[in-house]
Every structure is written in structure tokens, then in C-alpha cells.
């Protein structure tokens, strides 16, 4: 809450009154003296630690791998590390080249998993992610990209054969289309099923009643 009440850096520089309003909330004089003398960027950072709960926070991921990929692909790559696990958020347009480089040049030869997360409130609703592992480096990373509903992502079946079923499952559960997949169809649900159950707008007891009635000959699957 202390974060919300503290003045924005811009107002802090132009108006000293803005800086004087913060000690009213936190009656600690050393902070006020330092805030008036130091640049506003430091003021914003100084009160932050006590307000945050103890625990790790996501930070930038710095490694030779990140630098190398940044040089190669330029902008559109965000590298973050959290709880000791690192991930890239890349622009959709960089795929699948980005993934191919990771396999061919950086030895990420094992695609652990391909899945998605649905955030219905965001503009780009789906977060598609690839979990990769390198036997050689003993390192695990994630690559994520955001896509809008109806947008497709390139299939990585030419890169890792395992993507075949994993992409089919993501399609089955979320309705995400993978361009270039050899046989994109449902895998866990029956072929004629309507709807994609792991979308957030699909209810927990919701089902394709029509399919259940026709194929199972019962009123409801419950």
C-alpha cells in the first residue's frame, strides 16, 4: 500500500510539496532528508523494499545466451528470471526461428512441453509456452509468446518431433492453431466435440450436451 501513496518520480522533481507529502504516511525523518537530496529515481526505489513481502521477485535474466540472442534477433525479446527459472517472452514474429536457433546452436535438443495459459482479460489472450531442456548444458528454459484469440502460432513439429501430440493437446484444450502441423486434430476429447475446455470461459461442469446425447445416448454425462 505504501507503494500506491508515494509520489510519482515526475511530480517529485517539479514539486517539493509532493515529496513532503510522503513523510506524512511514513514518519521516518532519514527517508525524507535523503529523498530531497537524491534523484527521484532513487526515491522511488528506497521505500519499495519494506512494502514488498519477503521473497524473490522476477528480475532481468542476464547470461551470455540472452546477449547472443538479443544481438541476433534484436528487440522483441524479454528475458526474465524468477525463482531460479529463466524465460524469454518473444514476439510472435520471431517464431519459429528463435526456437530453431535454440535447438540448432544452443543445444536445447529436448522439448519438454508445449502448453498455453488463458488470460481472458488481456488483449492478447493466450500465452503459448515451450519448455526446453538441454542435455548438454543441463539447463531448462521457457519461451513464451502472446497471441490473440484466433491467431495462430507456427508449429515446431519440424524442430522437435514430440511437438506433434503436445500441439494437438494445446489445440484440443485451448483451440490454438499451429500452422504447419501435419495433423492438427483433437487428441483427448472426441473429434466431434465443440468447445475448448481449458479456456477460462468454459465452465467446470460445462460439456457438449449434444455430443453426449447423440453418442452416449444419455441426457447428461454428469
Amino acid at each position: 500500500m505504501a507503494d500506491e501513496t508515494k509520489p510519482t518520480p515526475g511530480s517529485g522533481t517539479s514539486q517539493p510539496t509532493g515529496a513532503s507529502s510522503s513523510p506524512a504516511n511514513t514518519p521516518s525523518s532519514p527517508v525524507t532528508t535523503s529523498s530531497s537530496s537524491t534523484p527521484p529515481a532513487a526515491t522511488a526505489a528506497a521505500p519499495a523494499p519494506p512494502a514488498k513481502p519477503t521473497g524473490p521477485v522476477p528480475g532481468p535474466w542476464e547470461s551470455p545466451l540472452v546477449d547472443k540472442l538479443r544481438r541476433r534477433h534484436g528487440s522483441g525479446i524479454e528475458a526474465t528470471t524468477y525463482l531460479g527459472q529463466s524465460y524469454f517472452v518473444v514476439d510472435r514474429s520471431l517464431l519459429p526461428d528463435f526456437l530453431r536457433v535454440l535447438r540448432d546452436e544452443e543445444a536445447f535438443d529436448y522439448c519438454v512441453d508445449i502448453t498455453a495459459v488463458h488470460y481472458p482479460t488481456r488483449e492478447k489472450q493466450f500465452e503459448v509456452l515451450w519448455i526446453l531442456y538441454s542435455f548438454e548444458r543441463n539447463e531448462r528454459i521457457r519461451v513464451k509468446t502472446m497471441i490473440a484469440d484466433g491467431e495462430s502460432v507456427p508449429s515446431v513439429t519440424p524442430i522437435w518431433a514430440t511437438a506433434n501430440w503436445l500441439e494437438r493437446e494445446a489445440f484440443d484444450m485451448f483451440g490454438i492453431k499451429f500452422d504447419g502441423h501435419p495433423d492438427l486434430k483433437r487428441i483427448l476429447l472426441p473429434d466431434g466435440w465443440k468447445g475448448h475446455p481449458l479456456r477460462k470461459d468454459y465452465g467446470i461442469i460445462q460439456q457438449d450436451n449434444e455430443w453426449v446425447q447423440i453418442n452416449l445416448g444419455i441426457e447428461s454425462g454428469q
Binding site: P53, G55, P56, P58, Y82, L83, Q85, D109, Y110, C111, V112, D113, T115, V117, H118, L129, I131, F135, N138, R140, R142, W160, A161, T162, N164, W165, L166, E169, M173, D183, R186, I187, L188, L189, P190, D191, G192, P197, L198, K200, Y202, I204, N215
Partner: protein
């Protein structure tokens, strides 16, 4: 259900192989109600006489939407559900999930809990491998090992029952450690069981390792190379039998595995026989780990200090363990509430099953049975 002919187009019909005696290719269904498919797996086979030209797996008969259920349960409430995926290795499932949530909460289970976890997980690995051996041998035509392994597996289930009251879907662990302290004489009983089991493993091997029928039915059957394994994401004993010395217990140790000495058994040929040898060797290594753990089990609490209401901070985690079948991973996303925003299970059986097509291509129908057995799949986990 769906007409099998709808799948035919997906089998590689483009190039027709020369058929023996000019007979027609045959499309047949194996399963889903076939005892050798270990559950409800349906495989559509394209055959030329006895030779397999192509396969197509139809799965999902046991789909219950575990990942959807997770989004509507609290972190603690979802814990027992994971036991029902790979129900012959429920303890491993629970371990993976609990550790994933612990990582997200940034807490660590106390050392004693980790030791108890290792002991029970390795016992479960033994039980899982025993069940695999019994049913796999039964599929191939050796009935005796089934009775032997089920007799001995019973002793493990008794230990589970005494520890937590359940035999199969144990729900042995909780987020933050273990709920139950070990019962009086737990260490003694586990040791007694290991002394009992070790000669039994020799006994299983005596029945099979040099048995001519067994060797003929398994050697050179369902071969898969290390490169194919990596590309297909195949893990666990199948990967190791192809010569890749990789085990998550060593590569990225979790629980207390870094404290113990054990070897990673590997094979050379990547065939059914090597996978059999690898799993037998793994059983001996599990015995070795449990012996060390029981001898060195530290005193102390078995539960970390975790809040009553589990509310991990906003974030995501991927944590995986070496389950008896391969890499079992959990990708958990938290939105800061009491319920997970998303739980993704990376099931080893599902991914390994994908290799079936490659492994049986050009082999005989009877080998399909052997390969399904050697992949050691559990349909509860394939379908979730």
C-alpha cells in the same frame, strides 16, 4: 464412437508397401478393451499380414480434465487428485506437485520430510516397476512373474497402508512436508522388506533374463535410438536403455537425492530387452537408495512452517521429477489467490506413448504388445 475409417487417411497410405502374396492391407482395431493395452488405449493398426505398416493411437477414454479441476480447487485440495493420474506411482505424483507448490511458496520441506519422501518414492518406484514387470511378462506369455511380483508388491503396499492408511492412491505428502510422522518400527520394517526383496529381484531375473523365449521376444524388438528419444521427448528408462545417462535425480536433484550414492543404469541397443535390464537394475538402485536413507534419516520436524491458507505470490513455476516412467513435470501458475490459475501436468506416459508408432514400424503384431508393455504407460496419466 468414431468410425475407425476416419483415421485411415492419417496413416501413411501414400506409398503402398509390396504386400506379401499380393494380399490386401488390413486395418484393425486393437483395444480399447484389450487386456494387453493396459487400460483403455486403442491402437489402429495397418497391417500386411503380420507386419505392421502403421499405427494410430486413439486416446482420451479416461480423460477427466484434471487440469481444469485444478483451477477450481485450492492448492491443498488438488493434491489428492494428482494421485489418480499415474495411479501405480501415486507417491511420485504427489511429490512432484507438492515440491512445485513449495517452490512457488518459496518454502522448503525439512530434511526429515525429504528423507521420508525419498524412502516412500523409491518404494513406489519399486512397486511401479514390479507391476510393470508382472504385466509386461504376462503380455509376452510368461505368467509366473506376475504372481511373484504381485506377491512382493503387496509388502510395499502394506508399508504404505501402515504409513498413511491408503495402499494405492496414498496422498502421502502435503505441501510443506509430510502430514504423518513415521510409525514405530518404520525403519526396521523397511529394512526387513529390502532384505526380503533383494533375493526376489534375483528370482525375477532368473525367470527371465536368460529365458530363451523371453530373449527371442524382446531382443531387437521396438528399437529406438537416443536421437529419436530426444526428438520425441522420451524420458525415463526408455531413454536410458538407448544409452543416454540422464536421470533427473542426478541431473537436477530434488528432495534429498543429492545425499545418496546411486548409479544410473543404461542400456546400449534401446530395445525391449535392454529396457527390461535397465528397469531391473533400477530396482536394485532404488533398494540402495532406500538403505542409505533409512540409515541416515535425520530427526526433526516433518512439516515446514507454511500458512494455513496457501496463497503463493503471483508467478509461475515448472518443477519436474524423475517418476518411474520418466520426467513428470508440473507447471503451476499462481495469480495470488487460493486456487491455482493454471496447473499443467507434463505426463511422461503421454509423451512416451507417442514413440509407439516409430518403435513398431515394420515389426510384427505380437511385438506391438511387447512394445506397449515396455513403454510402461498408465492410461490414467496419458489421458488425465
Amino acid at each position: 464412437m468414431t468410425d475407425p475409417t476416419t483415421y485411415i487417411s492419417h496413416l501413411e497410405l501414400g506409398e503402398r508397401d509390396e504386400t506379401f502374396l499380393d494380399s490386401n492391407e488390413l486395418i484393425i482395431n486393437m483395444g480399447p478393451q484389450h487386456p494387453a493395452t493396459h487400460g483403455v488405449l486403442r491402437v489402429i493398426l495397418k497391417l500386411d499380414g503380420e507386419k505392421v505398416l502403421g499405427t494410430e493411437c486413439v486416446i482420451g477414454y479416461l480423460h477427466r480434465g484434471v487440469e481444469k479441476i485444478a483451477e477450481h480447487r485450492t492448492y491443498a485440495m488438488f493434491n489428492p487428485y494428482v494421485d489418480r493420474m499415474d495411479y501405480v506411482a501415486a507417491v511420485s505424483n504427489g511429490l512432484g506437485y507438492c515440491e512445485a507448490v513449495e517452490k512457488l511458496l518459496n518454502v522448503e520441506a525439512p530434511p526429515r520430510a525429504n528423507y521420508v519422501r525419498v524412502i516412500l518414492t523409491e518404494l513406489n518406484r519399486l512397486a511401479s516397476h514390479q507391476l510393470w514387470l508382472g504385466t509386461h511378462a504376462l503380455d509376452i506369455g510368461a505368467i509366473t512373474p506376475l504372481f511373484y511380483t504381485f506377491r512382493d508388491r503387496e509388502e510395499i503396499l502394506k508399508i504404505f497402508e501402515k504409513y498413511c492408511g491408503a495402499r494405492l492412491t496414498t496422498h502421502a505428502f502435503r505441501i510443506g512436508g509430510c502430514l504423518y510422522e513415521t510409525y514405530d518400527g518404520f525403519e526396521r520394517e523397511v529394512k526387513k522388506f529390502l532384505d526380503f526383496l533383494e533375493p526376489k529381484i534375483d528370482e525375477y531375473e532368473e525367470l527371465l533374463t536368460t529365458n530363451r523365449i523371453w530373449v527371442e521376444r524382446t531382443k531387437g524388438v521396438g528399437r529406438i535410438s537416443a536421437a529419436d528419444c530426444k526428438s520425441l521427448g522420451v524420458t525415463g528408462p526408455v531413454l536410458r536403455a538407448s544409452g543416454v545417462k540422464w536421470d533427473l535425480r542426478k541431473a537436477q536433484p530434488y528432495a534429498a537425492y543429492s545425499d545418496f550414492e546411486f548409479d544410473i543404469p543404461t542400456g546400449e541397443n534401446g530395445d525391449t530387452y535392454d529396457r527390461y535390464l535397465v528397469r531391473m537394475a533400477e530396482m536394485r538402485q532404488s533398494v540402495r537408495i532406500i538403505r542409505q536413507a533409512v540409515d541416515r534419516i535425520p530427526e526433526g520436524p516433518i512439516m515446514a512452517k507454511i500458512p494455513k491458507v496457501i496463497k503463493p505470490p503471483v508467478g509461475e513455476i515448472y518443477h519436474s521429477i524423475e517418476a518411474p516412467k520418466g520426467e513428470l513435470g508440473y507447471f503451476v501458475v499462481s495469480d495470488g489467490s487460493t486456487q491455482p490459475y493454471r496447473v499443467r501436468v507434463r505426463p511422461p506416459s503421454f509423451v512416451n506413448l507417442q514413440a509407439l508408432d516409430l518403435m513398431v514400424h515394420g515389426q510384427l503384431v505380437a511385438d506391438v504388445i511387447a512394445v506397449i508393455g515396455t513403454l510402461d504407460i498408465v492410461l490414467g496419466e496419458v489421458d488425465r
